[in-house]
């Protein structure tokens, strides 16, 4: 088993007394002061998340749009320049190899963001599908997530582009403090936020520069997880895997059922027997991945993610249950190690006051 890797921000985390854990083979902060405080600060103000471990792939060449429209579920050919789209990299059976965001930087220039644990395999799978195109795995680039209702305010003095005209799920090449970067208005928290992509050598300085503003605080993986769960966003490896597909995951909204991408046929023929649901508990007692879910006393499924929701002061999570136990409002029971907890299937997102789509005014 190889040693976990450090991101370029490791020393920054240590100097802030972060609690470090191994996530996807990288040493990352799970928390600095408190998961709950970091979560609430992101919802109310602005936080920084080290996401340098994630994969960044530049794809260029004539016909890139058409080839990508086959390789991934997103219709890259119809994607306007300057826009981003969430979707999946599927295998022939419709199983999810990864969930991804594709961003169009130019007519034949695309930027793909993928998960850390799957990035090497993603590129191995994509290469034959994108034969003839130029694929660059930008391993010397880093990523920082800047998320929260005050994030535009915190970024304004450093970025050249006009943040008031960068709409939700848009992307642009710009400069941060004079250095070339890519900036997208995307994120994993449900709040107004940005992902900043730039060469690793600049990132430690950028991190410090942003933290000079008293509005800005660092946040770790613990808060990242409770934030995304409140939004019912899936986490690859928990809600998505190669043996699960977008229909199981209740994510049909994110692809065209008449599409022509790898896995589309298999999806058309597939009728799920189980469905991914969002769960809200009645108390603060948490449930955890692997916990059994029952309906009317019988086994109905399994929890895939669970956490305490600081915004709602109750336990929340996600899990797969039999189709007939998956309607909104269904009353289920989760069996944890210590207790049997009543939960309800909720509409997503659980947290509805997220600012991710607001019109930015500065």
């Amino acid at each position: 088993m190889s040693q976990p890797r450090k991101t370029c921000l490791y020393d920054n985390h240590v100097s802030l007394s972060a609690r470090i854990v191994d996530f996807a083979g990288y040493l990352l902060p799970v928390q600095y002061e408190s998961i709950i405080a970091e979560h609430l600060h992101t919802r109310n103000c602005v936080s920084l998340f080290d996401t340098c471990h994630m994969g960044q792939v530049l794809i260029t060449g004539r016909g890139a749009a058409e080839k990508l429209s086959r390789a991934l579920t997103q219709d890259s050919a119809a994607l306007p320049i300057g826009k981003a789209k969430y979707g999946f990299l599927l295998n022939e059976n419709g199983g999810v190899i990864d969930d991804t965001i594709i961003m169009r930087l130019g007519e034949d220039e695309f930027f793909l963001v993928v998960n850390a644990a799957t990035k090497e395999n993603d590129i191995a799978v994509l290469s034959p599908r994108l034969a003839g195109l130029h694929i660059t795995h930008q391993t010397d680039w880093a990523k920082l997530d800047i998320q929260g209702p005050r994030s535009a305010e915190a970024l304004k003095k450093f970025v050249e582009c006009d943040l008031t005209s960068l709409k939700y799920f848009s992307v642009t090449r710009t400069k941060f403090n004079g250095a070339d970067c890519i900036l997208s208005r995307t994120g994993y928290t449900g709040e107004l936020g940005y992902e900043l992509f730039m060469p690793q050598k600049f990132m430690p300085g950028v991190f410090d520069m942003l933290l000079e503003n008293p509005l800005v605080k660092p946040a770790g993986l613990g808060a990242r997880d409770s934030l995304r769960l409140e939004m019912a966003y899936p986490l690859y490896g928990h809600e998505l895997s190669e043996t699960l597909n977008p229909k199981d995951a209740d994510m049909e909204f994110f692809y065209d059922p008449q599409g022509n991408f790898v896995g589309a046929d298999a999806l058309r023929k597939y009728a799920p027997a189980q469905k991914l649901v969002t769960l809200v508990g009645e108390s603060r007692r948490q449930f955890h991945p692997g916990d059994e879910i029952t309906c009317g006393g019988k086994t109905a499924g399994r929890v895939t993610s669970g956490a305490f929701s600081p915004s709602l002061n109750v336990a929340i999570g996600m899990g797969y249950v039999d189709i007939n136990a998956s309607q909104t409002g269904a009353e289920l029971v989760v069996k944890t190690q210590r207790a049997e907890l009543p939960v309800k299937v909720a509409e997503k997102p659980i947290y509805t006051k997220g600012t991710c789509r607001i019109k930015v005014t500065l």
Partner: protein
């Protein structure tokens, strides 16, 4: 932080004796290891425990943890504020974060407890 007027256990609980009764909770080291406390399963009034038996449990963003009785006895009072504000354990583990009060069964149990000086090295691993 290790107050001088308390006694301690190897499992990071503290106890303050007043005659036949005692107040208990978990130490600053324990709350720091746990992270944000999100739920406290308070014991029932009348519950009898032996020394080192589980008296209740505490859940945090990180894990669920058992809390053990520093001395044997009967639970006579619980800190019901912890039902709505379990974070008191993080904020003030020796004060407002107290967990329950015990009527002591056997004062001999107290001899097995650690003084602040003996407890301190356990917090420095």
């Amino acid at each position: 932080m290790i107050p001088a007027d308390l006694l301690y256990t190897e499992q990071h609980e503290w106890i303050k004796i007043s005659g036949d009764t005692a107040v208990m909770g978990i130490t600053d080291h324990a709350q720091n290891s746990l992270g944000d406390v999100t739920f406290v399963e308070l014991p029932a009034i009348g519950k009898r425990v032996l020394q080192s038996e589980e008296v209740c449990s505490v859940e945090s963003t990180k894990a669920a943890s058992s809390v053990y009785a520093p001395a044997g006895g009967e639970v006579i009072e619980v800190n019901s504020e912890l039902e709505t504000a379990p974070e008191l354990i993080n904020q003030d583990p020796y004060g407002k974060g107290w967990i329950c009060k015990l009527k002591l069964a056997d004062k001999g149990d107290l001899e097995k407890l650690l003084t602040p000086e003996k407890y301190k090295p356990l917090t420095e691993e």
